[in-house]
């Protein structure tokens, strides 16, 4: 089974059935990572370029491991945006990479829309590994997979996303993904971190943390960037943490079977306390494990053959 599209640029443009296919494919690939020899030959001979314009350990490693477990050749290119020589346009970069005949370019960039632009310049597949404050589709897929595993469903669940919504690509992708699968999504944060027209993405908006926690089946905490203090988005880490950090006391207002996600890396004691991050409700490490399976599924459904083939090997 392949996706009907060349690229995976965002969750917004995916149909519900495509998300479901990606999730069920990822489920079937989880088993590969549990094997002693964690490799299938499915994508032998395929070349994947990880083009990262923004520092990333987890996501880049996860894509790299996913490609390797599928027997694809993975090449990592880290570009600091500032060092890109003047005069070479994004189009030039894209055309040069394409000339090496990769099958897929995985791109992360601090500027929203860059994967979309890249996809117009190259004929190979482009996977968005996070663009600015726009989308992070593989993160949303792994979040959905994690919730689906734990709760058995997504339809009818209540998800609350808490933190810096304005700058969060994770929030946007998850709003699209979870609402398409029938969940109800609420975003919560200080008004300085909720952009105008947010509800038009299909979510509810609140600035009251207790309201966001009440009745939620899933709580997703977002990482707060300390630098945002300088932009007057919040007065101090201390106050942010008191108002919007998740600790045991605030968690008392949540459901007994609530689960807690965080895209990482976490700021312990800022948006999430250590007790909560390491506590029984936290699925933070399951998310990381599922990240590999989801990315294997993405490669497979963009570059691979049939699903039957994958199971035979």
């Amino acid at each position: 089974m392949r996706l009907k599209r060349k690229d995976l640029l965002g969750i917004e443009e995916l149909e519900k059935s495509e998300i479901e296919q990606l999730l069920s494919t990822a489920e079937s690939f989880k088993e590969v990572s549990a094997r002693e020899i964690k490799k299938v030959p499915t994508l032998r001979g395929k070349t994947v370029i990880n083009l990262f314009y923004e520092p990333s350990t987890r996501t880049r490693t996860s894509f790299e491991i996913a490609a390797k477990r599928m027997s694809a050749d993975a090449v990592n290119i880290s570009v600091s945006t500032s060092s890109v020589s003047k005069g070479e346009t994004l189009k030039d970069t894209a055309k040069n990479l394409e000339a090496m005949r990769p099958d897929c370019i995985v791109v992360r960039h601090s500027s929203s829309g860059t994967p979309q632009m890249l996809s117009k310049y190259v004929s190979c597949s482009v996977v968005n590994a996070g663009d600015g404050a726009h989308e992070h589709p593989s993160q949303a897929l792994l979040d959905m997979l994690t919730v689906k595993e734990k709760k058995g469903r997504i339809d009818g669940l209540k998800l609350s996303i808490i933190g810096d919504i304005t700058h969060s690509r994770v929030a946007r992708s998850n709003i699209y993904g979870f609402t398409k699968l029938g969940a109800e999504v609420t975003v919560c944060g200080p008004p300085t971190m909720i952009p105008p027209g947010m509800e038009r993405l299909g979510c509810r908006v609140t600035t009251d943390m207790n309201e966001a926690l009440r009745g939620a089946d899933v709580i997703m905490m977002l990482r707060i960037q300390m630098e945002r203090q300088k932009e007057s988005l919040f007065p101090s880490v201390r106050e942010y943490s008191r108002l919007y950090g998740l600790d045991d006391a605030k968690l008392k207002g949540a459901k007994d079977d609530v689960i807690i996600l965080h895209p990482g890396p976490i700021n312990r004691g800022v948006e999430i306390s250590s007790e909560v991050a390491d506590g029984p409700y936290s699925l933070i490490l399951d998310q990381v494990t599922n990240g590999v399976a989801v990315r294997m599924a993405i490669f497979y459904m963009l570059l691979g053959g049939t699903r039957e083939e994958a199971q035979l090997k």
Binding site: T89, L90, K91, M117, G132, P196, G197
Partner: protein
């Protein structure tokens, strides 16, 4: 002496309330006589030496358009545009005069740069070029330039366009001092701190795209300041590229109070909303940004009731180096001279604006705002004329634009209203029928 006769066209000249079939006789670069076509018994000898006759039957004849806001890029950025290519673009868009902004390199902040531009325009230009001098030295917003020297060299206005003048006192002094010369100060009214690192309009679309937004308040706040200063000083203020409904309202009420202000908006702010940014096409990135539908409607309303005087292109050529890059990094601006008339005429076709209103905004209004004594076709006027076909359509093919840069968001669009011929000083400088098609 060369003679040019434009026969049988529908002459529309709002400045003198003329709309009818006329023959226009041009001699020595000036309008000689204008005779009603049905009562004109003049016999023209076909093929007489020095006589050119244009049959404008079925076409519309207008005073040449005046663009109050062009970036010709020369000197300094000749890879984007030159005075030659920029005026060719103007000619093919029906513009016979362009006012060129001072943000060249070096900045047009002294008479030698002004003279360089005018010399080049005289030697290579196909349209009249009226330079706008910088308000402050180097456009740094600190020290006033020598307005007197710039004016004497040929500048018709002063502007730091591209860089807002953040220091209120500098703006105040500019408005006061320019009164000596009766030349307007053209303000790029934007609070740069409120605009921040924004790259598009702030609203639901920027939220969806994850791009940093520029709130309307960044423009509204500065327009309010500039209007207050114009009121305080009695100076001549012209607000460049108005893009927000708030600014329209502020200008409307200032005009009602008698503040000496004129304003312009652009064809793109009149025809596109921030929805155009979906897809991250860097040709939709400009400053001020494309706004919301409510703003577009307010701009059209402002044009209709005279709050906004001019349609100006903000023609801003950028090369691939500036545009084939990430949206955040891409330079602002689009080319506009060659699509302006058709886009403006599209508003007439859609309804809501009269042909008269858009012609005024392209001719007599900018002429009056900048004291150019143009934009009108009367006996003795400089023969700057454009002939258009309002029934024909054309498809925008960026590769065929005269401008050196091809950064237009209208590529592939079919527009109604075609410029057939452009006449500057009695000479045909653009002839669509001689273009390779």
């Amino acid at each position: 002496m060369n003679r040019l006769v434009i026969k049988g066209g529908r002459l529309i000249d709002p400045s003198v309330n003329v709309d009818g079939l006329f023959n226009i006789y041009i001699m020595g670069g000036r309008v000689g006589t204008i005779k009603p076509a049905d009562r004109d018994t003049t016999e023209l000898v076909e093929g007489a030496p020095g006589l050119e006759v244009i049959d404008a039957t079925g076409l519309v004849v207008l005073p040449g358009f005046i663009d109050a806001h062009t970036h010709l890029r020369e000197p300094g950025f000749e890879y984007k545009e030159t005075i030659k290519t920029g005026t060719q673009a103007a000619s093919s868009g029906g513009f016979t005069s362009v006012l060129c902004m001072a943000n060249t390199n070096p900045v047009n902040d002294n008479a030698s740069v002004t003279r360089y531009i005018l010399d080049k325009a005289k030697a290579e230009g196909t349209a009249s070029v009226h330079p706008i001098g910088a308000v402050t030295v180097g456009q740094l917003g600190e020290r006033l330039t020598e307005f007197g020297d710039l004016k004497a060299a040929g500048c018709v206005a002063f502007s730091d366009d591209g860089v807002p003048i953040t220091d209120g006192t500098v703006m105040r002094r500019a408005l006061e001092y320019s009164k000596i010369f009766g030349a307007p100060v053209v303000s790029h009214s934007e609070d740069p701190r409120l605009a921040g690192a924004g790259v598009m309009n702030e609203g639901a679309v920027s939220t969806r795209l994850g791009l940093k937004g520029i709130p309307n308040a960044a423009e509204d706040a500065m327009v309010a300041r500039d209007l207050s200063l114009a009121e305080l000083t009695g100076g001549r203020l012209h607000i460049a590229h108005v893009s927000t409904r708030g600014a329209v309202e502020l200008i409307r009420s200032a005009k009602a109070r008698g503040v000496n202000v004129t304003a312009e908006t652009t064809p793109h702010h009149l025809t596109l909303t921030d929805e155009a940014v979906v897809g991250y096409d860097t040709f939709t990135k400009m400053n001020p940004p494309l706004r919301a539908r409510e703003d577009v409607d307010a701009l059209r309303g402002g044009l209709k009731d005279g709050t906004i005087d001019c349609i100006a292109t903000d023609h801003a050529p950028q090369s691939a180096i500036e545009k084939d890059v990430e949206f955040d990094k891409a330079a602002n601006g689009i080319v506009g001279l060659e699509t302006a008339f058709s886009l403006a005429y599209g508003l007439v076709e859609e309804g809501g604006l009269t042909l008269d209103a858009i012609i005024r905004a392209l001719t007599i209004n900018p002429s009056r705002a900048f004291s150019l004594n143009k934009g009108s076709l009367r006996v003795g006027s400089q023969a700057d004329i454009v002939i258009v076909d309002l029934n024909r359509t054309w498809k925008v093919d960026p590769s065929r634009l005269k401008s050196k840069s091809k950064n237009t968001p209208y590529g592939g669009r079919t527009l109604k209203g075609v410029v057939i011929k452009t006449v500057v000083n009695g000479s045909v400088v653009y002839d669509a029928t001689k273009e390779n098609s």
